[in-house]
Symmetry: C2
Subunit: 267 residues, 2 copies
Amino acid sequence: MDTNANLEEAIEVLQQLGLKEYEARCFVGLSRLHTGTAKQLSEMTEVPRTRVYDAIRVLEAQGLVEIQHSSPQQFRAVPLEEATETLRDQYEARVERLRDALEMVEIVDPDDEGPVQQVWAMSGRDAIENRTNDLIGEATDEVVLVIGDDSLLTPELVDALNGVGNGVDLLVGALTDSLQDEIETAVPDATTFISGLEWLHGENATVDDTAIGRLLLIDRSTILVSSIIPDTKKEQAIFGDGFGNGLVVIARRLMAQGLLLAHDPGP
Amino acid sequence: MDTNANLEEAIEVLQQLGLKEYEARCFVGLSRLHTGTAKQLSEMTEVPRTRVYDAIRVLEAQGLVEIQHSSPQQFRAVPLEEATETLRDQYEARVERLRDALEMVEIVDPDDEGPVQQVWAMSGRDAIENRTNDLIGEATDEVVLVIGDDSLLTPELVDALNGVGNGVDLLVGALTDSLQDEIETAVPDATTFISGLEWLHGENATVDDTAIGRLLLIDRSTILVSSIIPDTKKEQAIFGDGFGNGLVVIARRLMAQGLLLAHDPGP
DNA sequence: TCGAGAATCACTCGGTTAATCACAAAACAG
DNA sequence: CTGTTTTGTGATTAACCGAGTGATTCTCGA
């Protein structure tokens, strides 16, 4: 059995969550021992015995393990559900504190407003998805969206699409029939189409090894284009704002040539 | 105005969330600048100018800032709501991964079951609260709960109390009339009382500067007692399991003397 | 009382981060 | 076009923190 990979995975994630290596190792060690002494833990987790105590103390302070003050001391991990819930609580509290602190502060000097020709770059799947959904929520006239990968059609995206105002046209393109079907059932109000942009496919990728992930055009004045690096699966996006923006102009031209299959705005 | 404290708070929390000092400083700097160059940021945040670029790159990769690739480069922070949402997503994903990995692994050797005389120590408000709620959910006969501090009566606790099975007696004690009233309206099924344990009050604290936070007795065989260090507000608890447990025995004796005002189980 | 294991403390080593410097490239003024 | 300033990158040094190890004190059972 490959339980070992899971062990390493757990240790790694715990470190990402802020634990030190010894602490992480001790916690997963206890998770499978259910109850153990420093000696047992040390043997199982390869943590020097003398350091087990420090690690456990930290874990105890975080509410992840319990200590029995006998001799020898006994340790045991909190049940998994409790542990994850506790971690979650911790995090929520932190994010909340951050929000409050920054809200109190965001009052700043509104300096000059730079040129309108702005193209911003951002990356990270979650961040791009959040931005996408936000933008859709702010649309007042039209949303054109092309989805380049099935995994991008998340419940949150569906919610955002279904939540647009009444007068907003929804044009959603997909690359495959099956994805188009999915969209049609999930977002009944949307006009769907199969994208004419064959270059969205990874198979047709040119020299640069990237595939288009999303293409979003809001009210013909804001655009977001994301690409996905096939190797790392990382998503990165560029984001243009303003009617006169170069990117936006290009997008409009694409539409005019029928590539995005938009209908002309009526008289 | 004391906006400075908020700045520091934000920086500190961001570091707890895994960012380095420079990254945190740059992010809060951008949060109040809304858009700025490396130079501006450097002056405002005391981050060496030449290091701003690295920090920003990391932030960009995490989806917290956007970069405009002009010269000079312009940076701007993602809107606060998006940022917190992104951080939340990140964290949720991690906790999820942890849960999955540990679930695959928790199959372990069920060693010997030690003595029944077990007293475990744990600390951390969230962890203790989670344990409290779990224990209440597992009660089959009786729940005796004394709440020593108003702030401990959380919505989750109320849910747990209202969610117990039908045959379970609920006895909830408070220290003040007002708290008792709160409990009565929030948990109609509970029999409430004013605790006769005056020593729960912080005012009456003895030499050791601690006040009792919660006292929980489940089915007369499991007990949890928590105390709150007045200085640090940290909560710590001891937790005893098993009918023959010394702690539990003490608790039952307290009840027999009427201090916990339990009714005797009928014939 | 004594010895063996248990627990704590004090220290070294190595890697990471904070901080500074040197330099190349780009923008800008004249 | 040229020299100067600003911007961006890379290399280098210094301070810090965590991983690993040994010495010391404590606890328990014989």
